[in-house]
Symmetry: C2
Subunit: 236 residues, 2 copies
């Protein structure tokens, strides 16, 4: 594996659940949402119906907290058969606002790893979701200084990566993507001839889960970002 990374000049980092905690706050909000709806439906049912609503609206709303808020509201109206109180709907709006204003908590080792790698490589952030929200989190994170470029994509599929690498004049063979999602960070980058490092986060959104995949030999899996710098030292 170390040999593979010798050619790498640019390292792309996913942000949510790779640099900082994110999914946990969605899980917390979902839990509060299903608790609010307990008078109408079992928590498990509400949770499933909310996910279905999010999937139904994903093409229209895209990723991010605002779309999640709108899906929670619509789902609450459905689950309660139009009976949910304005007061509880206000609480749902507040759940989303709290998420938007949440402090950014970096994952362990992130600052140190970025400081170290930026001396030898060009570092970029490639994230998806809401533009304002992602830029705000990056600002709050204090990590901006490590990155040469930040790109928020509306979707992280092979075509989006390809277009962006081309625009930034990056040869895929010199690029490695680091992230927690096989679907968004690993598989599309391998497909276009780049390298990838998978660092699983303890929670994965159902939408980001992939079935069996046979390409496990094509990418590196680490348990923590702190292990990353070791793989870029092969030339010494």
């Amino acid at each position: 594996m170390k040999d593979k990374f010798e050619r790498i000049r640019v390292i792309g980092f996913d942000a949510d659940d790779t640099l900082w905690i994110n999914e946990t706050y969605f899980r917390d909000a979902e839990d509060k949402f299903t608790t609010l709806l307990e008078g109408y439906e079992a928590k498990n049912t509400s949770d499933q119906e909310l996910f279905k609503m999010e999937m139904k609206n994903l093409g229209l709303y895209g990723y991010g907290i605002k779309g999640f808020m709108l899906s929670m509201i619509e789902s609450a109206i459905d689950l309660s058969n139009g009976q949910i109180s304005n007061k509880n709907l206000s609480k749902i709006i507040q759940l989303g606002k709290d998420m938007l204003e949440h402090p950014v908590h970096l994952l362990p080792g992130v600052s140190e790893v970025l400081s170290q790698l930026q001396r030898s490589h060009r570092l970029i952030v490639l994230t998806k979701g809401d533009l304002l929200d992602q830029e705000r989190k990056l600002r709050k994170s204090g990590l901006e200084k490590h990155f040469h470029h930040v790109e928020v994509l509306h979707e992280k599929e092979e075509g989006n990566y390809s277009k962006l690498l081309n625009q930034l004049d990056i040869d895929p063979a010199e690029f490695v993507m680091v992230g927690n999602s096989l679907k968004s960070d690993v598989l599309p980058v391998i497909a276009l001839g780049g390298q990838a490092v998978h660092i699983p986060f303890h929670t994965t959104w159902r939408h980001e889960e992939v079935g069996d995949h046979e390409s496990e030999n094509d990418y590196l899996t680490l348990s923590s970002i702190s292990e990353l710098p070791d793989y870029f030292k092969s030339s010494s």
Copy 2:
């Protein structure tokens, strides 16, 4: 004025209400919103309160339809003193979804002007708002082929322009920005040494209005984008 444009190599276009109709759909939705609330408040009051709510939430939500939807919902709960029915809230959500799915209507002359100018200049789109929504509108517009680069900013202020021009390696002295908003398209670009063309749209969102400004001699005002190509022919 024609002399000023001789050095121009890159033309930036705003999108909403410069290339295609946008503000009109917000006005329509506001009208339907205030009609829904008529049982609780006079239309004029509801309209003012909705605008206040949008301004209150702007820092958190940013520009775009999803934030507008959330502000309508929150405002409806406030204006009705927590009495608005789930049915009417569903109608408000549908108002927003209809906006997101609305076909794109180009302003007159846009296709022809872009076809003509792209032969002699690099054309880029600089818009603000929701990433997914702006990319969707551009795709629906059929105008993508004219543009060398598309950038969705979360805010169009001098600093954002400066950073972007630097990133795209564009000298402000060789750049002109074309748009309907003095606040977002004209004044910040002039401030950093670029040129600007103001093409007012018949409706301007209150948030985009500016007070008296003394710089009217610093930019060109046109009544239609069709007049634009004439100003780039000075060298012939």
